[in-house]
Symmetry: C2
Subunit: 469 residues, 2 copies
């Protein structure tokens, strides 16, 4: 009897205190900025956890808590989005593009890289690219990226300060670097001017919650050894990422080999000490096994652009070998003048299929691996995996709600298979970046789609006229 | 003065008679079924004519006249569609699929062909495929194809009579053949039963305006030599097309070489006299130059399926060489269980990029050539170029109105570039097949999308349960 009464006392005490403990863990009156209720959460965390009928609470731009709707009981939310029947994935990460070039989309195609550049792109740029052009192109590209579920992108172009300004206004996350190169470009006429611009740019944006300013020397074949090292030094001094095109074409390999005693581009860059642990290299096609080890040694991030590489017949990056070595590999669209869109879903699909074909093994690069490249892999490639790339509490709230109900997705057996092989950009419904809803049910909230198109079409006429002169 | 008065008299006479001549050429009161006014017509005719601000008059399922809106003056139309600002292209042609397999979309991926077939597809088929399944899958596939602008497809599956019935009801054009094979399948348990089924099927459908019944032996490695020749004989007797998988995998080549004194599949098939001038062969990857000449000699049509071939790591069909030899080459999606959709726009885009990569030449397979493969090339592959594949008066009215105003298509410099590299399936607005509007402003008029999804999702549950037993 004594035992029974003790037990009852204990239960009474527990019944009294437990709710208080519960409230201690989850304050009943906690106010959050955004609550997403229902839907399947594809977290892309280390364990690749998938939460059916999940819920996400967002506060101060961060993911405060993920779990089940019942875990959010008692929370007050300034905004609630119901996602039942939909899939919630980390925002997609485009690790390599030149966003304003979307205004040159399809200006010329199906040409050798050199002919394409010298006959079409360079003249078109020389005659058209100014700050207003860059702003218009950036807005167009941002709108296309948001509508396709891209929440972070890595960019190299001119007037990058205007790109940063437009990107911040649109609420998109960007790793942005002014392209600096050894010949005059639309804004900076010398290497020195470009480098000084970059340093000012970094100082201006370095504490921004959305913009990560970068140092972006164009490529080993367009920037001298001395200037490459100056770029690296600026990156080291400012702790800004170091973004570059690397090992894209065999013409690049031949050029570097001729200039630098037979060394191949990656070999050469490592020998001169270019790489730091914030390097982000686009393409990386011309890379043998020893060179991949060099990249691994310096923890270089890689932006793999399968569709651009196919269209320009540049070759295929050794992605399965890169992943096996644990390299940081993400996906990129490259500029829309060469691709011809900013659609990351197609890059995921193409990557998964391309590496099966090239390896001759249909088990290569599974759907889950390909999807990882567009999310947490992209975050790793940008050295930002502590902040973005997966849905985990404490990370920035960059996420995308995807419809899984369209005809092209019916029926659904496997989440990753559907995300990679069946989902299209227009299945994206709602996009949240840094806790802010930038698209809701396919309506852009931070950009004016009709105005963007009107301005882009005016530039179309201007570009055509400029080239016919 | 005499000259002036003569001139005036002549002008008066001309002013009187000219309108009559005009009326004589174009009867003022002619009634047509459908008039499409405005828009840019990409005809894909021999001269690849493009008509800006065009017009198309349709009567009795055929294109009666194409030209300018002013050419249609005085016509009475039962229905008028305004297409200003849009692009009108021939309906896309999917030269190879297995439409009901869309119900197995993503059931398993990233596996060896044999493992995929024997562990997943064959068991799933054995436990689920009956006539009701085939009807449900066909409706789902047709809905996806129409929404993506496909107006004709070539199919091989089981219960093909039900597929034909559903296809006709949906108003879609099909070259349809019951898969006949040397082992028991869901409907026909023997080769003989399959062949007899095919003959009944051909007799039933041979005069249909939409359905072209075909003889469809599965492949050289699954049908004996004797049976292959029986299939050919039935094709010769009935004048039905002869559809087959051919030279898809290197395992097929090895199998045929072992069985038939070292002969490769195409060599073997030509030696036994299989090919007639109505043959349609899917894949054709394992084909050397001499074998392409054999296919050319027999005027064999080819269904190139780039995405399926990539995903299964089957290899790359030598398409540039095929086109150089004047072979009939179209594009196909293959079944959605292996691809995983029925989206021909992605096949066009992938084809254009893939052959650049494989050839190492970015000038290979231009956008215009790739787009031709999906239209007039597909019609040629199906031996139907007299009827479909281009917008020309006298041809069947199979055409698609495409929006060119979405963000992903802005700005637009080159029509073919945009159609190949920038247009997505959801840019298709309106679809006309055999003069009938089957989708108007993205609303399906012959199929019930919600009912289709409901039934497909019920099959999803049934399939999962059947495989877990």
């Amino acid at each position: 009897m004594k035992t029974l009464s003790s037990t009852i006392s204990l239960l009474v005490v527990l019944a009294f205190y437990l709710p208080l403990f519960g409230q201690g863990r989850r304050p009943a009156a906690e106010t959050v900025d955004l609550l997403i209720l229902g839907g399947t959460i594809v977290t892309m965390d280390q364990g690749r956890n998938v939460i059916e009928d999940g819920a996400i609470a967002i506060k101060g731009g961060k993911i405060l808590r993920i779990g089940k709707p019942s875990d959010m009981r008692g929370m007050r939310a300034k905004q609630t989005i119901k996602a039942a029947g939909k899939v919630i994935v980390p925002g997609l990460i485009n690790t390599h593009t030149h966003v304003p070039m979307v205004l040159f989309r399809g200006i010329s195609d199906d040409l050798d890289l050199q002919e394409w550049l010298t006959k079409y792109i360079f003249p078109a740029e020389a005659k058209n690219v100014d700050e207003a052009f860059v702003r218009a192109g950036t807005r167009l590209g941002l709108a296309e990226m948001i509508r396709g579920g891209t929440t972070t992108y890595c960019d190299m172009y001119y007037f990058e300060d205007a790109i940063a300004d437009e990107t911040k206004k649109a609420g998109v996350r960007g790793v942005l670097g002014e392209t600096i190169i050894d010949f005059p470009v639309p804004d900076n006429k010398t290497w020195e001017a470009g480098l000084a611009y970059t340093e000012r740019f970094i100082n201006k944006w370095k504490n921004d919650p959305l913009i990560v300013p970068a140092v972006a020397p164009h490529a080993p074949y367009t920037v001298s050894q001395e200037h490459l090292l100056e770029a690296r030094d600026l990156s080291n001094k400012t702790k800004a990422p170091l973004v570059i095109h690397l090992a894209e074409a065999n013409t690049e390999t031949e050029f570097i080999q001729q200039k630098h005693q037979g060394q191949r581009p990656i070999e050469f860059m490592e020998k001169i000490g270019f790489f730091n642990d914030r390097t982000i290299a686009a393409h990386v096609i011309q890379a043998n096994d020893a060179e991949l080890d060099l990249l691994k040694k310096h923890d270089v991030g890689i932006g793999h652009c399968p569709q651009s590489n196919m269209k320009l017949a540049a070759g295929t990056a050794p992605v399965p070998a890169m992943l096996k070595k644990g390299l940081r590999v993400g996906l990129g669209t490259d500029g829309a003048a060469s691709n011809n869109d900013l659609n990351l879903w197609e890059e995921i699909d193409t990557a998964a299929k391309l590496h099966k074909l090239v390896s001759g093994d249909p088990k290569t690069l599974s759907a889950a691996e390909a999807f990882a490249m567009a999310t947490i892999g992209g975050a790793r490639a940008l050295h930002m995996e502590e902040l973005i790339g997966s849905i985990e509490s404490g990370k920035r709230a960059d996420l995308v709600i995807v419809d899984m109900d369209d005809l092209n997705q019916t029926p659904m057996f496997n989440l990753y298979s559907h995300l990679v092989y069946a989902t299209k950009a227009d299945d994206v419904r709602t996009v949240v970046i840094n806790g802010r809803v930038v698209m809701l049910n396919r309506n852009l909230l931070t950009l004016d789609e009709n105005a963007i198109k009107r301005v882009a079409n005016a530039y179309r006429t201007k570009i055509i006229n400029s080239l016919s002169k």
